[in-house]
């Protein structure tokens, strides 16, 4: 097992965001996490990355308890995240942002190579490579955030709404990319509002509601579940 979350409880002051979430991700899988606004998806990802300390519960990554590790050490274990709302480094250029993505790596030559690959995937970023990331359009920033995460060559990638604000063609492209990197060996935990797309590429999925897992199972099955259809697929 790659990642296992056991009975996670998280609060923001008086607000209880997660009330005992348990789930797991197997090596090589794409696992989708879906749910309404405020269900606790982002909170789950941020807790995994060590940005939020849980009240209780444990996070086991490749057999190691990482619940109490600081975020930078978690990243060093091969676990990277595309955060919600892009969070690019606005006062750094596009190119520098990508370099930051490769911060944990030391293979200079390959880094150059990988930047090229990112530019191939998102030609728009190459056109803008000297521009300050803060002045990019919303979608361009989203591409950059994705590109930056790819630069770290993670073992497990956490994606928080990677398709938000992207043009339809790019949404397609993003999901293709996710599939592709998954095939090349990266395990993926995906949070998406675009449940339709998410379920179509995922192996398994969890449905989160007000801080609790209410449904889980095979992605295909869930996509056909009438309850899910009604609540999350808008059908």
């Amino acid at each position: 097992m790659m990642l296992e979350i056991q009975d996670l409880h998280v609060s923001y002051g008086a607000i209880r965001a997660l009330k005992g979430v348990s789930c797991h991700v197997e090596q090589g899988e794409i696992v989708a996490l879906i749910g309404a606004n405020g269900a606790g998806k982002t909170t789950t990802l941020r807790t995994i990355s060590g940005l939020i300390r849980p009240q209780s519960g444990a996070i086991i990554y490749k057999g190691q308890d990482i619940t109490k590790l600081p975020p930078h050490q978690i990243v060093n274990l091969g676990l990277s995240q595309v955060p919600e709302g892009r969070r690019v480094f606005t006062r750094m250029t596009v190119l520098e942002n990508l370099e930051m993505g490769a911060y944990v790596r030391n293979d200079k030559a390959n880094i150059k190579q990988d930047i090229k690959k990112v530019f191939e995937r998102f030609p728009r970023l190459e056109e803008r490579k000297g521009q300050l990331a803060g002045t990019l359009s919303g979608g361009e920033q989203q591409m950059l955030a994705m590109g930056r995460a790819l630069m770290s060559k993670p073992t497990l990638m956490l994606l928080d709404e990677p398709s938000m604000g992207l043009a339809p063609m790019l949404v397609q492209e993003i999901f293709n990319i996710i599939k592709e990197i998954n095939q090349s060996g990266t395990t993926i935990l995906l949070v998406e509002q675009n449940a339709h797309m998410a379920l179509s590429i995922a192996n398994r999925a969890y449905v989160l509601e007000t801080g609790e897992v209410v449904l889980s199972g095979d992605a295909q099955d869930l996509a056909n579940d009438p309850q899910v259809k009604k609540a999350y697929l808008g059908e």
Partner: protein
């Protein structure tokens, strides 16, 4: 006469620049006006005196001792007084910094008295005549050290990995952490560099002006901070430029008969520059994108 005055101004400016570099570094990373910086500079100067008098050290060793002490001091201050406040309002660490600065000032007064002490002669000063201008060895030393430090800093921030990490951390701690950056270490490192610069400044200024006092950090710190802002806070060449600009302007102000308004010159210039370039001479303009 004028050229001599300009040289006077440049030397004064170089001392401002030395302190301003530290301000700008710390500000650049954690957006904190570290008002205790002037006090670190003051402590550095006293350690320098101590090294020379009590431990009988030469210039280089004293400089290193002062820098090392201040690195420890600066890093501890960050640990104790700023780190717990990292995620609160921007003004909270500012107040904490003022508290630290009051503390250090009174502590130093307690330890060594309110009186200034002279800096013992560690190097034999000599005067060189270049045409109509006279330059002293100490003046040259200050200018050389300031330029070297600036070059070194620029190199670190621009080309060394931790320098880039500093810039990333300065924008967004969480996202920087998500890149694998140890934000605490980066910030400690920033304080270490900033404080060692302040210490070096303290020792050199002590030698040049020949006096060290518990209150020396107050005005010097303020002027240096102005210099940093004038040059564009966060910008390393900006700090240098701002320092020199201020030093020369003040000196020429005195030479031109505005000596009673000397202390207003720096600030008037500052306000005028800010009105035309709201982020200082070399500061990047703020981009508005919504």
């Amino acid at each position: 006469m004028l050229s001599q005055q300009i040289l006077n101004g440049i030397t004064l400016g170089a001392t401002y620049a030395l302190i301003a570099l530290g301000y700008t570094m710390v500000y650049g990373i954690i957006q904190l006006i570290n008002f205790a910086h002037g006090e670190i500079y003051m402590v550095g100067a006293f350690v320098g005196v101590l090294a020379v008098t009590v431990f009988q050290q030469g210039l280089v060793a004293s400089l290193l001792m002062a820098m090392l002490t201040c690195v420890i001091l600066g890093v501890s201050i960050e640990r104790i007084a700023y780190r717990p406040l990292r995620r609160s309002t921007r003004l909270a660490p500012l107040i904490s910094a003022i508290g630290v600065s009051i503390f250090l000032q009174t502590l130093m007064t307690k330890l060594q008295g309110p009186q200034p002490v002279p800096f013992p002669p560690v190097i034999t000063d000599a005067l060189y005549k270049i045409g109509p201008i006279e330059v002293s060895k100490v003046q040259i030393l200050i200018m050389v050290v300031a330029s070297l430090l600036m070059a070194a800093l620029t190199f670190i921030v621009k080309y060394v990995k931790i320098g880039k990490a500093m810039r990333a951390a300065s924008e967004d701690y969480d996202t920087a952490a998500l890149m694998g950056i140890n934000v605490n270490r980066v910030i400690s490192f920033t304080f270490a560099i900033g404080s060692s610069l302040a210490a070096a400044g303290g020792v050199l200024v002590g030698i040049y002006f020949n006096s060290v006092s518990p209150f020396m950090g107050v005005t010097a710190g303020l002027k240096a901070f102005c210099a940093a802002v004038l040059g564009g806070i966060g910008s390393i060449p900006g700090a240098m430029l701002g320092g020199l600009f201020l030093g020369v302007a003040e000196t020429l102000g005195v030479a031109g008969g505005f000596d009673t308004y000397k202390d207003a010159i720096a600030f008037s210039l500052l306000i005028i520059v800010l009105l035309f370039r709201p982020t200082g001479l070399l500061g990047r303009p703020i981009q508005r994108k919504v």
